[in-house]
């Protein structure tokens, strides 16, 4: 097999946010050269990659040129210029996950069709061109409450509108969108599955995501999720189905709803390491970042066994603060047992910006949750 370590092999990672940073850190454990493409030369991954390349990953030329500089391309964000990846692949470049998997997931309309075609339970939906068509469809296929999702370029809660009744119609986005039945949610779960080039798959335990209702961002994540073994099994089975049908080579993060009737529904998937898998760095035998590298390099997948239960908290910018970042309570938080602090290195804080995360590993989930509450009260991101 080709020697990927301590050699001239160059892994290109598109985008250099925290996920790119943590991928690059995992790669450096194996002495794999990493090239990062990002338009921000102070992005988190810029400090740990072998080479930083400045450029907009939505731009055909930038992505195409970047791909020509490296031996293999992967990505840590969905919003990449797929045409450039397609052309690179056609010319023989190794692109993992495949550009077609990315294209399917990038467009939430196409993604929903994919679930429908493969018999994967996902909330009923219609596709609309824009605001007007959404309003016209009410009563004809669309009922209150519903969720409007922009087909493209939504992330971190952006591009998603919850419409509970007529009073919310003013919030509608005027873009091509998926309009989806609002599920009566009991819990939101995520399962991270990895598939390598031989079709081998490995799953981490389902985790529970607790959202900040104001920012529509994950505030707290509990691993393993506190659900019945039967729900855990079904969630994993569903995530495996999505992964297998997608044919992905790499990590696929599958988000699911557990409704109040105990039914599971696939919400959406991301073809990359995911916020809901940060805790695997400390709590699992193999982190999602190492697992992604194993998959795209076509190594055997690593064990997904958990060493300890964990709670992960995103460290979000304070809603009142914007500007050069300042952290309060770091010392006090570090005194709490099992607290693992990750600071991404973003220079500027903004309301609800993901500036870092804290994973708390404990002998029991209850203890981890108790410690997490203390960290949440102590650790603040201000300016």
């Amino acid at each position: 097999m080709e020697q990927l370590v301590t050699s001239d092999f160059k892994l290109g990672i598109i985008a250099g946010g925290q996920l790119g940073k943590m991928l690059a850190l995992a790669a450096s454990r194996w002495d794999v050269k990493t090239y990062i493409l990002d338009s921000d030369d102070h992005c988190p991954a810029s400090t740990v990659c072998t080479r930083f390349v400045e450029g907009d990953y939505r731009d055909f030329e930038k992505v195409y040129e970047f791909g020509q500089q490296v031996d293999m391309v992967t990505f840590e964000i969905e919003n990449v210029n797929v045409e450039a990846l397609r052309k690179l692949k056609q010319e023989g470049k190794r692109i993992y996950p495949d550009p077609e998997v990315l294209a399917m997931i990038q467009d939430k309309g196409v993604q929903k069709q994919f679930y429908l075609e493969h018999g994967i339970p996902s909330p009923a939906f219609v596709l609309c061109d824009g605001r007007e068509q959404v309003i016209k469809s009410i009563g004809e296929g669309v009922q209150f409450p519903f969720v409007q999702k922009a087909r493209k370029a939504g992330y971190d809660g952006k591009g998603v509108v919850v419409v509970r009744g007529e009073g919310d119609l003013g919030k509608l986005l005027d873009v091509p969108c998926v309009v989806e039945r609002a599920v009566d949610i009991d819990k939101e779960l995520a399962v991270i599955v990895t598939r390598n080039g031989r079709g081998e798959m490995a799953c981490f335990s389902a985790v529970e995501m607790v959202f900040n209702p104001e920012a529509n961002l994950v505030e707290l994540l509990v691993s393993p999720a506190e659900i019945d073994a039967d729900v855990q099994d079904r969630a994993i089975e569903l995530a495996r189905q999505v992964t297998e049908k997608s044919g992905i080579q790499g990590v696929l993060a599958v988000e699911l709803f557990l409704d109040t009737d105990g039914e599971l529904w696939v919400n959406e998937a991301a073809p990359r390491p995911h916020n809901s898998g940060h805790h695997t760095i400390e709590s699992a035998i193999t982190s999602q970042y190492e697992q992604h590298l194993r998959a795209i390099f076509n190594f055997p997948l690593g064990s997904t066994d958990l060493k300890r239960p964990a709670v992960m908290m995103n460290l979000l910018g304070d809603r009142e603060h914007e500007g050069p970042v300042r952290y309060e309570g770091l010392t006090e938080s570090m005194a709490i047992p099992g607290v693992k602090v990750h600071i991404y290195g973003k220079k500027e804080t903004r309301p609800f910006r993901k500036m870092g995360h804290v994973t708390i590993v404990s002998p029991t989930t209850d203890e981890a949750k108790k410690h997490a509450v203390r960290v949440r009260d102590l650790l603040k991101v201000k300016s």
Copy 2:
């Protein structure tokens, strides 16, 4: 407290081998800027630090200039120019561990005196100027078998000669040395202790080191050591004593002999992260690298609880090979559960050179050992 993360704070790390690399990786999790001083611009840490500074760490001027570029200095090797560190400290630079702790440990003669003065059990010794004095002392204070250790600049088995009888006298080194009673060794143990600026201490469990007799290098390390609870307690107590008396701020790795009568003897100590603590990356809540950073930044120390038992194997250059490195059996090794591969990034292999290590984490020590044997048979470092 001063903000060390995402700021202009610069941590200088003297030497950029694997220990420097892993320190820099730990620092990057907190977005701390790292500067590395090393004469080899392809050293392992050069790929992950914020800034690489070329220079010989034994050279007064190089170390002094390096110290002036950073806000705090630490080191990952003993063989540093102490005079430069002393001058920097005098001028107000923060140097952790303190230059005086380094000076004490750097000279194995002074280190032995330190144990003697503080009533810490360490094998009886005499100090000699060179070969001739060693031979003269035989029968007068020195008995066969004994161990000759160069007072300065020994590492990785270099500078140590075991003399079992007259036939071994030809191997004696002609340098100032410690001549030490040879202990009848049952096991070799190591305990890593960390002490912060408030005098708080934290210990990892004692580990057992199994040596490669040919290279006098650790081949296999078992954590926790398979010893009675009483021996574990005594080893930790002894290591804590050494640490407390030394007054160190940072990590101190204390190597001990367990003799065939069940007695413990301090062999030597290293004021830095240590080969015998690599496994803490995956098996402990806090790694020795994060712990060292916590100590020198005067944060509260992290939990040293073990998440899983582990075996660590150094990945040594094959004795028959020298030249550009080539790894065999990586893919096969990664198929074994719990195998975590670390490749340092040294371009050239040499007989017994430390090129990487593998940590195997398993639910039981026995399982980890079983897997380690397979990895040892599969994974080869050739050229």
